[in-house]
């Protein structure tokens, strides 16, 4: 039984205006097989949490811990974290000119597994996953994310999720910019990955829309770098009706 634990996490970012504190003490425990939705207004620190888990050098952890099955994630490099079983589906996947999707996927799979996948099985897996995500086979020979539409980039992220089979996946606003058809396809991909591997998911989103297709076990509301409230999926329904105003008013009052 795998578990990802985040304890009292404080994170700073260097900006042109100086150091800014973004996360102010986040506590979260995600067990294998659970889906946690992190919701919150823009600027509340949701993406910072995602990138900090993945190890982006821009974010400095000043206090707290991240543990994967008791191992200290913060001591691992970005690639070590991925090999340990963490995955981040990015909000803005970058283009890698000259590197084909096929080559990239095989290189990543080999790195994660520590050995090259068997050729026949791998080709079949890739083809199947691409077909499930309604991706044209020609995608395999295109350069990673180069000239991809927003929806194609997100599908390519979920394709990697399905093929790399992490223990825990952080989905950073995977729903943003998707039309309803693409949203359904991407959500099905996430559900399929969970059904196949039983991974734990941290689903970061601004909107409740994706929660119609991916059912969270827990909902956490992020405000000003902390979890302001948590509950079951009924909390998401309430947010859909009321929005985030309630928390921001409370936050403003607390600041006075």
């Amino acid at each position: 039984m795998s578990v990802l634990e985040i304890k009292n996490l404080h994170v700073n970012v260097e900006t042109d205006q100086g150091t800014r504190e973004i996360l102010r003490g986040v506590d979260l425990v995600i067990n294998e097989g659970e889906i946690h939705a992190i919701m919150g207004p823009n600027g509340s620190g949701k993406s910072t949490l995602a990138y900090t888990i993945a190890g982006h050098p821009k974010y400095q952890v000043v206090q707290g811990e991240i543990l994967l099955d008791g191992e200290n994630v913060l001591e691992m490099s970005v690639d070590e974290r991925a090999r340990a079983g963490l995955f981040l589906a990015m909000q803005y996947p970058v283009e890698i000119p000259g590197v084909t999707v096929t080559n990239f996927l095989r290189t990543a799979k080999t790195a994660i597994d520590g050995e090259a996948p068997s050729i026949r099985g791998w080709v079949k897996d890739v083809r199947e996953s691409m077909s499930n995500l309604k991706m044209d086979p020609a995608f395999a020979e295109r350069n990673v994310n180069e000239g991809f539409s927003g929806g194609e980039k997100k599908r390519n992220e979920i394709l990697q999720l399905e093929l790399l089979k992490p223990k825990f996946a952080v989905l950073d606003e995977t729903d943003s910019g998707l039309d309803v058809d693409a949203l359904k396809i991407v959500s099905e991909g996430v559900n399929r990955a969970k059904a196949n591997t039983g991974l734990g998911i941290l689903l970061i989103t601004h909107y409740t829309r994706i929660l119609r297709y991916i059912t969270p076990d827990f909902v956490h509301v992020f405000v000003a770098g902390k979890i302001a409230e948590q509950g079951g999926r009924e909390l998401a329904d309430r947010l859909e009706e009321e929005g985030y105003d309630r928390y921001q008013v409370a936050e403003a009052a607390a600041a006075e």
Partner: protein, 393 residues
């Protein structure tokens, strides 16, 4: 700049630099085709390094080649023949010499004044074929050389001109492409670390002919290969490609000139380079002249540099002169960028180690050129050579 921006390879506004150029508007001293030319070294003043064609080059490192006496004896060569490719030496007064161009600077003129015999490479027959000529063991004596590569009308072939080992060489390479011929010339510089190599290539393209010209510079202290292409007849087409990898202390330079001088001519110039290590230096100057006779010209040139470490310098200067309003398209682009840390993060977040991620990105950047060479053997060899460069070997 008056270029009509139409091309299948349109860059983004940012890449093209719709912002003003950093060095202000450039007013050329003269039209590119009106530069002084002579085959006689004495017609050129000694090189000071202030001349426009030398100002970005480390001229003190090769004063012997621009000003000194040169050994004009035959270069030691090894050839891998192919049927339809004939390699021979011809006398310097042979009528087949001097048809493709004339030196425009002193190193080139010094070579022309000093060579004894010229290497003549004749390509005939319509079958595809590959011939490789390696020059190695040149020693450290300053040398002059002259090569003429001629593709007969309607012939096809690929000629590799490779340099390896020690060298202090200045040379001219003439490329004469006959009517309807399709020729690829690869100039491959894999010299030793201390070598100096200055080359001027002059290509003249006949009616409806095609030249793919590829400059690959990997080894040598100073390597300067300047290809000029004269699209002299209707329907001629050049694809000029370049690939360079400058290490610490290396100066790799290319001044590329394409002269559209007949109707419906086409040119594509794409040079890509990577720079790694203290003092790694590259220079790319791309001149395109669309003459009055060149109605219906389609032209695009670009240079891309990938900077891998601190302490490097890449100069990139595209110039475009247009003398006729009746063209299909002309454009240019230049971009020099640092290694992108976000690409590195993305790849590492998929479990790929930093070293492997860097190799993937650089290989990806340069592979566009390698893949266009058209010889699987050479492509595989170059890919391996680039891997070695990346690992600092």
């Amino acid at each position: 700049m008056t270029a009509a921006m139409q091309s299948t390879a349109m860059p983004t506004a940012e890449q093209h630099g719709f912002r003003p150029h950093s060095d202000g508007p450039i007013i050329p001293v003269q039209t590119r085709s009106e530069r002084f030319r002579s085959v006689n070294v004495e017609d050129f003043a000694p090189v000071t390094g202030r001349e426009h064609e030398w100002k970005l080059s480390p001229v003190a490192a090769f004063a012997d080649l621009t000003g000194g006496e040169l050994d004009g004896a035959r270069l030691p060569i090894e050839t891998a023949d192919a049927p339809g490719v004939d390699v021979s030496w011809i006398a310097r007064d042979d009528a087949r010499i001097g048809r493709a161009g004339t030196p425009e600077e002193r190193a080139s003129a010094n070579a022309w004044s000093s060579f004894g015999e010229a290497l003549f490479v004749s390509v005939t027959g319509e079958e595809e074929k590959i011939a490789a000529i390696t020059r190695s063991g040149l020693g450290t004596t300053p040398r002059a050389a002259h090569t003429v590569i001629e593709a007969a009308p309607n012939s096809r072939g690929l000629v590799v001109l490779r340099g390896a080992g020690e060298a202090r060489l200045t040379e001219n390479v003439e490329i004469v492409v006959g009517e309807g011929a399709s020729l690829t010339v690869v100039s491959l510089q894999e010299w030793d670390d201390d070598a100096v190599h200055l080359a001027s290539h002059f290509a003249r393209l006949g009616r409806d002919s095609f030249l793919k010209h590829i400059v690959v510079s990997l080894g040598g202290k100073v390597v300067r290969v300047n290809p000029s292409t004269h699209l002299a007849e209707q329907g001629s087409d050049v694809e000029a490609l370049g690939l360079y990898f400058a290490d610490a202390g290396q100066h790799l330079e290319q001044q590329v000139y394409v002269h559209h001088d007949a109707p419906h001519t086409r040119s594509r110039v794409t040079y890509k380079g990577a720079l790694q290590g203290d003092g790694a230096r590259s220079v790319w100057i791309g001149d395109v002249l669309i003459g009055n006779a060149a109605a219906g010209t389609d032209s695009y040139e670009q240079n891309r540099n990938l900077v891998l470490t601190d302490g490097t310098r890449a100069d990139s200067v595209p110039n475009l002169e247009i003398e006729t309003g009746d063209i299909e398209g002309a454009g240019h682009a230049s971009a020099t960028g640092r290694f992108d840390d976000e690409q590195l993060f993305y790849l590492m977040a998929r479990g790929i180690s930093e070293g492997e991620a860097r190799r993937l990105v650089v290989r990806g950047f340069l592979t566009e050129i390698v893949q266009k060479i058209g010889s699987p053997d050479l492509e595989a060899r170059l890919t391996a050579a680039l891997e070695a460069e990346l690992e600092g070997r």
